[in-house]
């Protein structure tokens, strides 16, 4: 009888661990929503797109004031020119995407079964270039890819984030991204989740820490006095802040992280090229 009880207890523990290990992407997202409902009860779901600004009325008003006439419109004009300038074969970026590139960015990152890897929106822009006989841009170069993306993503403003994780390859990539998000790194021994889940809404020095949900909806951003910053550049900055040597922009690690991270913002509207502190 003792052995039976022991076996049942072990089976129960095993079942529990399987449930934890096999949490689906949607369960992960719902779990975060519940965490923030408790920790940040005054923030409405739609307001998560504002990140830390949603936690500070003054900062949000400052943001709204800057967004009335953003000082970086010239960058978006350059991006528009890049987007509209035909390739040598006469085609344009719009020819590579459904709906001429409108309302597509919210579907990225996506898992490409043929390539067997996650493809981010900037990678898709580069694939478009290559398919049309052009050399790919350096993903870390804000003067080319960053500027192009800053405009191209605005064509999806208002689209709701719609990341899909279908099939074992996609799930494996999602889980790798999830693991990176929850793994401690650097001398400070912080995971992404240490700041953006466990301490969201609290301050690090003078800055409020933003919640994870909504974070992926508004990239690239113009920081401070207008420095164009992409999402993966921000990942690098965060990793340096915790004193970890960052991964490269466009690395599999960051692409998988962006996949997980973007899924957490599913259902929230995109608005690219906005101001952030």
């Amino acid at each position: 009888m003792k052995y039976v009880s022991l076996l049942l207890a072990l089976a129960g523990m095993l079942a529990c661990s399987v449930v934890v290990a096999a949490a689906s992407p949607e369960q992960d997202r719902q779990h975060l929503i519940e965490v923030y409902k408790k920790e940040l009860p005054n923030v409405k779901f739609d307001d998560y797109v504002h990140g830390a600004l949603a936690l500070n009325k003054d900062a949000l008003e400052q943001y709204q004031s800057i967004m009335e006439m953003p000082p970086w419109l010239d960058v978006l004009d350059k991006g528009k020119k890049l987007w509209e300038t035909p390739f040598k074969n006469g085609k344009t970026y719009a020819d590579c995407f459904p709906n001429g590139g409108k309302d597509v960015a919210g579907n990225y990152p996506q898992y490409d079964r043929k390539l067997k890897k996650v493809v981010t929106f900037d990678m898709a822009l580069n694939l478009c270039r290559e398919q049309n006989g052009e050399a790919p841009y350096d993903l870390s170069d804000v003067k080319t890819m960053g500027t192009l993306e800053a405009y191209a993503r605005t064509l999806s403003d208002g689209m709701k984030m719609n990341i899909k994780v279908d099939g074992p390859g996609a799930l494996a990539a999602y889980n790798k991204g999830r693991d990176l998000f929850y793994s401690r790194r650097g001398q400070l021994n912080f995971a992404c989740a240490t700041c953006h889940v466990d301490n969201a809404g609290k301050r690090v020095r003078v800055e409020l820490l933003s919640p994870t949900i909504g974070q992926a909806t508004h990239w690239p951003v113009f920081r401070g006095t207008g420095k164009l910053t992409t999402l993966q550049r921000r990942y690098q900055q965060c990793q340096k802040n915790v004193r970890a040597v960052p991964f490269k922009i466009g690395s599999e690690e960051y692409n998988d992280l962006e996949y997980f991270h973007s899924y957490m913002s599913n259902g929230l509207p995109l608005q690219a090229s906005v101001w952030r502190k």
């Binding site: 793994s183 001398q187 989740a193 466990d198 004193r243 970890a244 040597v245 690690e253």
Partner: protein, 102 residues
């Protein structure tokens, strides 16, 4: 006379070999034995941490400081920074076995 003419070429060849070998042996003539060993170990440890995607910027910077001290022939500083680099490189690798925060 012919031997004398060869001297500069021998020196250049020796420098070339030293540069190719890189790492701690480059500073061998000026550094104490413990400093050379510590630096070599730090270079190995940092390389290992990098291979595990677990390198801390502080370990990376400590190794740079050790290499700079080696260039200046400061054995004491080489040992100090090399030990720091090795220790933090190993801590970085150990960190990859920590449980996730959730």
């Amino acid at each position: 006379m012919a031997y004398r003419n060869r001297k500069p070429w021998l020196a250049i060849a020796a420098m070339g070999i030293a540069l190719c070998c890189g790492s701690a042996s480059l500073y061998a003539a000026e550094l104490s034995e413990p400093a050379q060993q510590a630096l070599k170990q730090a270079q190995t440890d940092v390389k290992d941490a990098k291979a595990h995607d677990a390198l801390w910027t502080t370990a990376q910077n400590a190794l740079k400081s050790a290499e700079k001290a080696a260039t200046a022939g400061d054995s004491g500083a080489v040992v100090k920074f090399s030990k720091k680099a090795s220790e933090q490189a190993k801590l970085g690798i150990a960190q990859t076995h920590y449980p996730m925060v959730h």
